[in-house]
């Protein structure tokens, strides 16, 4: 078993509130992600759970037991640092063996465990080397190995993939998840990369300025962001954002952006009461805009192609609608020249509308 409960944790550094009354729970064997920009408080929470930093307020429970007063080594968890923090003057073998040695495990037992872990991670040939002689990917594996060698209840991973090059990162995502599943270990990891969060986690907590804004499965976070920050932080290319007025005219509800207006009458029952007539923000994911050369629907909007980026297997088309810049995803087959006209059709069922003042989702 390995559950983690974080209850009303707060932490101040000087005058700055790094963590602001945060609570969440991680279930046994779950892979939970803290996602947010740097300075959001993700690492601080990990360090509080690890016991490296005492909280100003709140309680951390592991398997239901409050651990606030236990030193890190007695909490039965392992942490992997963003820099990996390998001991540079110890060989890979000694790095892996070190956590066991501190706990006075018998020599033979250490040997056995280290060689098993090395085999799992495919680093057996590296055991005699020093960290300075390893590549980035190898170092990451050794750090992972040092975390799992003691078979703790909980893993804390602080930006485990940030220091890898782009190519390796893409491969390691699946590999790390596979390893986590095999070990069946409860894991909390922090990352600023929304793609890592979406692809790896069972659950994501979106953080900004010390608070958790939304806590849910990747699907929920992506499809039903409950505020503006979450909506724009998750997804690449970023969601298109347009200021608009939410109006009701002649029994039809429209979003007027200045450059175009969108009939959203069919979303009528989703729109919260009392929000009509207010200033709003329209959010449209690039993949929910269909591009055509000719007008394809009565509510198609004329736009000018600004730049295209053939990212494969699709392309990103940057468009100019009046003075507004938008991005749409189109199949590679969509041919367009710079400055040409294109027609956008927005999938109204998939749009997001936020209250401009509170930043909360209206639709």
């Amino acid at each position: 078993m390995g559950t983690v409960q974080v209850e009303n944790i707060s932490k101040k550094f000087g005058d700055r509130l790094a963590v602001d009354n945060v609570s969440f729970e991680v279930r046994d064997r779950e892979l939970m992600c803290l996602l947010g920009p740097s300075g959001a408080g993700k690492s601080t929470i990990l360090r509080i759970i690890a016991g490296l930093e005492p909280p100003d307020e709140g309680t951390v429970r592991i398997d239901g037991k409050a651990v606030n007063d236990l030193p890190p080594k007695d909490r039965d968890l392992a942490m992997m640092f963003q820099s990996y923090a390998l001991y540079p003057n110890k060989t890979v073998y000694d790095n892996l063996a070190f956590p066991l040695k501190s706990y006075k495990v018998a020599e033979a037992e250490i040997k056995k465990t280290v060689s098993e872990v090395a085999k799992t991670l495919g680093i057996t040939p590296l055991l005699g080397r020093l960290p300075g002689q390893l590549s980035g990917g190898e170092r990451q594996r050794v750090a992972m190995g040092r975390a799992i060698v003691r078979k703790p209840k909980v893993f804390l991973l602080d930006e485990p993939l940030t220091n890898l090059d782009a190519k390796l990162r893409v491969n390691m995502r699946a590999e790390l998840k596979r390893l986590q599943r095999e070990l069946g270990a409860t894991t909390i990891f922090a990352t600023p990369d929304q793609l890592e969060a979406l692809t790896m986690s069972d659950r994501i907590a979106i953080m900004s300025q010390g608070r958790i804004l939304q806590d849910g499965s990747p699907d929920v976070i992506y499809e039903h962001p409950n505020d503006f920050f979450t909506a724009t932080f998750v997804g690449s290319p970023t969601m298109n954002i347009l200021d608009c007025d939410l109006e009701e005219k002649n029994g039809r509800i429209t979003l007027n952006t200045g450059a175009f207006s969108l009939d959203v009458s069919k979303l009528a029952e989703l729109i919260r009461e009392g929000t009509l007539g207010s200033e709003a923000v329209l959010g449209v994911r690039p993949e929910h805009i269909m591009l055509t050369r000719e007008r394809s629907a009565p509510d198609s909007i004329a736009a000018e192609v600004y730049v295209t980026e053939r990212t494969r297997p699709e392309q990103i088309v940057h468009l100019k609608v009046g003075s507004i810049m938008m991005q749409a995803i189109a199949p590679l087959a969509f041919q367009s020249q710079l400055g040409e006209k294109a027609w956008m059709t927005i999938d109204v069922a998939k749009i997001h509308v936020f209250d401009k003042r509170t930043q909360k989702a209206i639709v």
């Binding site: 080594k73 820099s83 923090a85 540079p88 070190f98 956590p99």
Partner: protein
Amino acid sequence: MAYRKRTLSRRIGVYVCVLLVLGFILSPYLLGIVTSFESEAELVGRPPFPFKAITPVLDNYIYILSYMPFSLAFIDSALVAVTTTCFVMIAGSMGAFAIAHLRFRGRNFLFNFVVVVYMLPALAMLIPIVVLLKELALLDTIIGMVFAHSVLLLPLMTWFLVGIYESVPADILEALQMDGTSRIRSLFREVIPLSRFGFFLILVFSFVTSWNDLMFANTVGIVSVKLLQPRILEFMSGARVMHTQMAAAGILSSLPVVALAIVLQRQIIAGIMKGAIK
């Protein structure tokens, strides 16, 4: 091709300048060495050395090495420098590690205090130290000398060591903590080995400073503890100066530190380049 020609004349210029600088730096030493192998009569006879050939003699070294006060001073200097260095490196390391990596009340104050003390002129402390040592009956003793040199060195070296230990990543210390190593243990077992280059540089620096000191040694040591540099001063200001013997004594007394600098030049230069000493 004018491009190439310019680089050639530039290179020649560089070599000429380098030779001039090296001449300025090395000529006092070279002449000092030559002088130490001359006889006094040959030295004072005109013209001076590079303008005439000399016949080398070993007399000066034989005299100096058999001159008991000099040999004793050599041993005392070594004893004081080694003891002082040990004390400074241990107490300084412990304090510097705490300042660099632990958070406690008054940390910033302590940090600034160390800087200010390091800036204070040595003389400001010398007078009261001499009085204090006299009160403790430690004036003119080896122990007193070690304390006096530690006053000179401890704040300075602690300040340097703070910079050195700060460059050990905090992550590694936290990883050690997660793995169950106590902080004090991790200083001696991990931090010092990890920053061994800087540590070694500071160690050499301490030794050299203690060995080279004249002012404290000349004031704290009066009769029974005369260190090496005060002995050299004696030769220089003595009534009947034998310049050739003085040169031999000077060469001998600078031998350990200069040899240390030459043997360890790569480490020292690397350390300075990395900004270990600021």
